[in-house]
Each structure stands twice: as structure tokens, then as C-alpha cells.
């Protein structure tokens, strides 16, 4: 009886452990099955590189949205990544312990605030600021980049911090003993040694930016057109789904799932890259 119970419990844990595999498989299968017909009908090339999105007329080209996603993400990375890495250096190297005990929970709170709240704050604060002080309609790539930069900070900071903290103590001690200043030690010994973790942090942060929907839906303006400057409104892959899913049906709905497939592939590439980099060590 005891033997049986032992065996049974092992089996049960194994079955539970299969849940994440089955979830990933189900998600992949169902989204692909629902979106694939539009690839067949329109053609992958015309779907991905098509310039016109007019579901009413059967035109499904998402190239402007791919450009939108890439430009907003790039903007968020340019603003957020240096700031995030600086913050992780601050936390591990410079912050007095009192500040550390305030800063860390603050970053966690930043990670927990609902994305719609960021979007709303962007809409009432960032968008008017850009419109009045910088120009353009305000609803723009720039506004989206600012909001996303704030939103990816926790990811970049927390993962970089962990990889800096994981360094052997001797690295720093030896460098300091050789007469390097604190910053020289950080720049030429610690950051290079923690590189793979920091790169993974950046990739995961970028993944968050690519996948974010509700925050950017409010500040991007959502126009389907190729942007000419960072002050132009754009639509991203995620916001395309978020805006139109509520009323879409038939082919239109399939096209939104196909947009989801493109997004899914983009994210899986980023995730696998991050996993590959952190595993390699």
C-alpha cells in the first residue's frame, strides 16, 4: 500500500508537470489553426508585407503595424535600457542600505501597477506634453516609447541586478586591489562578467514591450500608416488585435488571429534567444 502510494504520488506530480507543456501546445495549435486560413488565402508575403489594412474590403496587410511595433519597441529600449542598467548598478553598488530597502519594493510596485493605469497616465500627461511642447498630434511613437520604457524598467532592473549579484566576490576585490577605481571595476570587470544576464534582461524587457497592449492602445493614436517621424501615430500588432477583436467576425477575425501568430513568432524568437543566452553559461 505504501509502495503504491509512493508510485502514485510520483505519477501525479509528473502529470501536473505536463500542464505547462500542454498549455503551450494548446495555445500554439489553436491560434495557428484559427489564423492560418488567412495566410493561405492572402498569402504569407502579402499578409506580412501588405501595406493596406481594410478588413471590410478583404485587404489584410500588416506591414505598417510591424513597423509600428518595431519603432515603438526600439524607442522604449533606447530610453529604458540605459536607465534600467544604471538603476541595477545603483542598487548593487551605490545605494545606501536604507535607500535599497525603499528602491527595491518601489520597483516591484512599478512592475505590479496595471498596464491600463500607465496608458491612462500617458494619455492625460505624456500625450498633451508632447503635443504642446514638442509638436505633432501627441498620440505618437514617442508617447508609446516613453510609457513602454517605464514599463520595461522593472524587468531590466531586476534581472540585471540578479546577474550582477551572482558574480563571485573576488572579481570586484581583485580589481580594486589592483588599484582600479570603483567605476573602472564596474565597467571593465563586473559588467563584462555579468554580460549574458544583462543581455537576457534587455531581451526580456524588449519582449515585454513588443507584447504590451492596453498601455499603448491609449497613447499611440492607432493609425494604420507608415510613420514618417517619431511624432506620428502608429498601430502595433498588439493594439490591432486589442482594438478590433471586440467586433470582428469571419475573415476579419481570422486575420486578427494571424496577427497574433506573427506576434507569437516574434515573442518566441526573443524568448528562445534570452533562454539560450542564460543557459549557455
Amino acid at each position: 500500500m505504501r509502495r503504491f502510494k509512493e508510485k502514485l504520488s510520483g505519477r501525479i506530480f509528473f502529470v501536473l508537470a505536463l500542464s505547462s507543456i500542454s498549455a503551450l501546445a494548446l495555445i500554439t495549435v489553436f491560434i495557428v489553426a484559427k489564423g492560418a486560413p488567412i495566410f493561405v488565402k492572402v498569402g504569407v508575403r502579402d499578409f506580412v508585407f501588405g501595406m493596406s489594412w481594410a478588413p471590410g474590403h478583404g485587404e489584410f496587410g500588416i506591414f505598417p503595424m510591424i513597423v509600428g511595433t518595431l519603432s515603438v519597441t526600439l524607442g522604449a529600449a533606447v530610453l529604458g535600457v540605459p536607465l534600467g542598467i544604471c538603476c541595477s548598478i545603483f542598487l548593487t553598488e551605490f545605494a545606501p542600505s536604507v535607500l535599497k530597502s525603499v528602491f527595491r519594493p518601489a520597483i516591484q510596485l512599478l512592475a505590479g501597477i496595471p498596464s491600463v493605469v500607465y496608458g491612462f497616465w500617458g494619455l492625460i500627461f505624456v500625450v498633451p506634453f508632447i503635443r504642446d511642447r514638442i509638436g505633432g498630434p501627441g498620440l505618437s511613437i514617442l508617447a508609446g516609447s516613453v510609457i513602454l520604457a517605464i514599463m520595461i524598467l522593472p524587468t531590466v532592473i531586476m534581472i540585471s541586478e540578479v546577474s550582477i549579484l551572482a558574480l563571485p566576490r573576488q572579481y570586484k576585490q581583485n580589481a580594486l586591489a589592483l588599484g582600479l577605481t570603483h567605476w573602472q571595476t564596474i565597467r571593465s570587470v563586473m559588467l563584462p562578467a555579468a554580460k549574458s544576464g544583462i543581455v537576457a534582461a534587455v531581451i526580456l524587457g524588449v519582449g515585454r514591450a513588443v507584447g504590451e497592449t492596453m498601455a499603448v492602445i491609449m497613447v499611440l493614436g492607432n493609425a494604420v500608416a507608415l510613420p514618417k517621424s517619431i511624432l506620428d501615430p502608429v498601430r502595433t500588432l498588439t493594439t490591432n488585435i486589442g482594438i478590433e477583436m471586440g467586433y470582428a467576425s469571419g475573415e476579419h477575425q481570422q486575420a486578427l488571429f494571424a496577427t497574433g501568430i506573427v506576434l507569437f513568432i516574434l515573442i518566441m524568437i526573443l524568448n528562445s534567444a534570452a533562454q539560450f543566452i542564460t543557459r549557455r553559461k
Binding site: S9, F13, F30, F90, I113, W121, T181, W183, L256
Partner: protein, 278 residues
């Protein structure tokens, strides 16, 4: 011109401090702004009365109940799956091909955008399994979304339990199952609870995945099969359609307070956990 190492040191220090303070300032600004505009809206009537006129007037009681039901459903489903997976990974197997796939799946799930979870929940739970827009569809979708968080935090907590606990338990003649239930699980409980709390926070904050699977009706949900609107979705609709800024700010303030409280409790748990295992 070459900058001397000592001057460089000072410049960098100023820059890094400035970056950290900027981030703090932005956070404080966002939180303070929402609280300043929303805190005075929150009173007993706001919390306890149902929304009327699309949310233009009345309170947000139905959305609070909706949020609660969806979140509880998600946690009740995700917790056994996630904790079970964590025990399997930490106690029952060496690193091999299967664990590699499990880890890859969990980490991939963690990266999938919530809108994709929404799409999947819509096509699988709402349409294919015919659960309609309901608390159950929303809860199941969120359960998948929080699964990786539960797995990761639980596994960390289980691995933090000193090995000697298991050895002592085995030496007393306990089986593996008894060891896990009586020796490992209680010591890992705080860490596991911390992960569950973080997941609760994510459920409360989620919008994209829930709006596509639980719907957005303002009626009071009466069972797992009724459609509902969560607080985050309510805030989104109020703000985006400009229905009532007053109530939008109130809802947002309440969301931030909830997330703050959850973080505080989760941090106390984990600090005690760390203190205990030392």
C-alpha cells in the same frame, strides 16, 4: 581631453544617482497623481453600490466581485498545477530531456503577451469548449498566464529548504511522499505563498486577457458561468470612452492600493522566509 579616473568616478556616480532618482520620481509621480485624483472618490458607497448608467454613476461593487471571482478561480486552478510542477522539478527528477522541455514551456509561457492569452482563451474556452464569456473562461485563461510565476517561485522556495530536513525525515523512516508533505512543504510554504500573491496581483491588474474571455457586462456575476467585468477592465472602459473620469480615477486608485498591499504582504512573507532559513 582625458578625464582623470577620479573625476570620471565622480561624474559616473552623479549620473547613476540621477538615473535612480529619476525612476523613483516617475513612480512617485504616477502613483501620487492617480491617488490625488482618485482617493477622495473611494468611500463606502463607491465600494458597495452597483454601477449605474454604464458606470457614469453609482459605485463599482459588481466589478469588485467580478475581479474576486475571476482571480480566485485562476489561483485555485493554477496553484495545484504550478506547485505540483515545482515539486516534480525539484524533488522527483534529475535534469533531463523532459525537465528541459518543461522549463522551456514554462519560460515561454511567461513571455507570451497577455493579448495572445486572450485570443487563445476566446477561441478555446469561450468558443470551442462553449463556456461563453464567463468567470470560468476568464479564470482558466488567467490560470495559464500565472502558471509560470507559480512554478518558478515555488521551485525556488522548495530548493531553499535545507537538504538536512529531507535527510532527517528519511532517516526516521518516512517515505518520499511523507517527507514532501510533512517536512519540505511546510518549510517552503511562505515562499510558495509569496509566489501565489504575486500571481493574484497579476490577475487583478490584467485587462487584455480578461476582456476577451470574461466579457464586460456590469451585471452582478452569480455563478462561474456568468459573464463579468473586472475592475481593470472597468477602469479601461471608463477612461477610454470618457464615461466618467471621476469613477475611473477612483477605480485606478483602488487598484493601486490593492497592488501595494499585496506587495507589502508578499515582501513580509519572503523576508520572514529568508530570515527563517538562515
Amino acid at each position: 581631453m582625458r578625464i582623470s579616473p577620479r573625476a570620471g568616478e565622480r561624474i559616473v556616480k552623479v549620473l547613476i544617482w540621477a538615473a535612480a532618482m529619476l525612476v523613483m520620481a516617475v513612480l512617485v509621480f504616477i502613483v501620487a497623481y492617480i491617488l490625488a485624483k482618485g482617493l477622495h472618490v473611494i468611500d463606502w458607497r463607491f465600494l458597495a453600490s452597483a454601477p449605474s448608467n454604464m458606470g457614469r454613476s453609482g459605485g463599482i461593487s459588481t466589478t469588485i466581485i467580478g475581479t474576486l471571482m475571476v482571480t480566485v478561480t485562476a489561483v485555485v486552478i493554477a496553484a495545484p498545477l504550478g506547485i505540483g510542477t515545482a515539486f516534480y522539478l525539484a524533488e522527483y527528477t534529475r535534469e533531463n530531456f523532459v525537465t528541459k522541455i518543461i522549463r522551456f514551456s514554462a519560460e515561454s509561457l511567461a513571455g507570451i503577451p497577455s493579448i495572445v492569452y486572450g485570443l487563445f482563451g476566446l477561441i478555446f474556452f469561450v468558443v470551442y469548449l462553449d463556456m461563453r464569456w464567463s468567470v470560468l473562461s476568464g479564470g482558466l485563461t488567467l490560470a495559464l498566464m500565472i502558471l509560470p510565476t507559480v512554478i518558478r517561485t515555488s521551485e525556488e522556495a522548495i530548493k531553499a529548504v535545507p537538504y538536512i530536513y529531507r535527510e532527517v525525515s528519511f532517516s526516521l523512516g518516512a517515505t518520499k511522499w511523507q517527507t514532501i508533505i510533512k517536512a519540505v512543504f511546510p518549510s517552503a510554504l511562505r515562499g510558495i505563498a509569496n509566489g501565489i500573491l504575486l500571481s493574484v496581483g497579476r490577475c487583478i491588474a490584467e485587462t487584455a486577457a480578461v476582456i476577451l474571455t470574461a466579457g464586460s457586462t456590469l451585471r452582478m456575476p452569480t455563478s462561474l458561468f456568468s459573464p463579468t467585468r473586472t475592475m481593470a477592465v472597468h477602469f479601461y472602459i471608463l477612461a477610454r470612452e470618457g464615461i466618467s473620469m471621476e469613477n475611473a480615477y477612483g477605480t485606478a486608485a483602488l487598484l493601486i492600493i490593492l497592488i501595494f498591499l499585496i506587495n507589502v504582504v508578499a515582501n513580509t512573507l519572503i523576508n520572514r522566509f529568508v530570515a527563517k532559513s538562515r
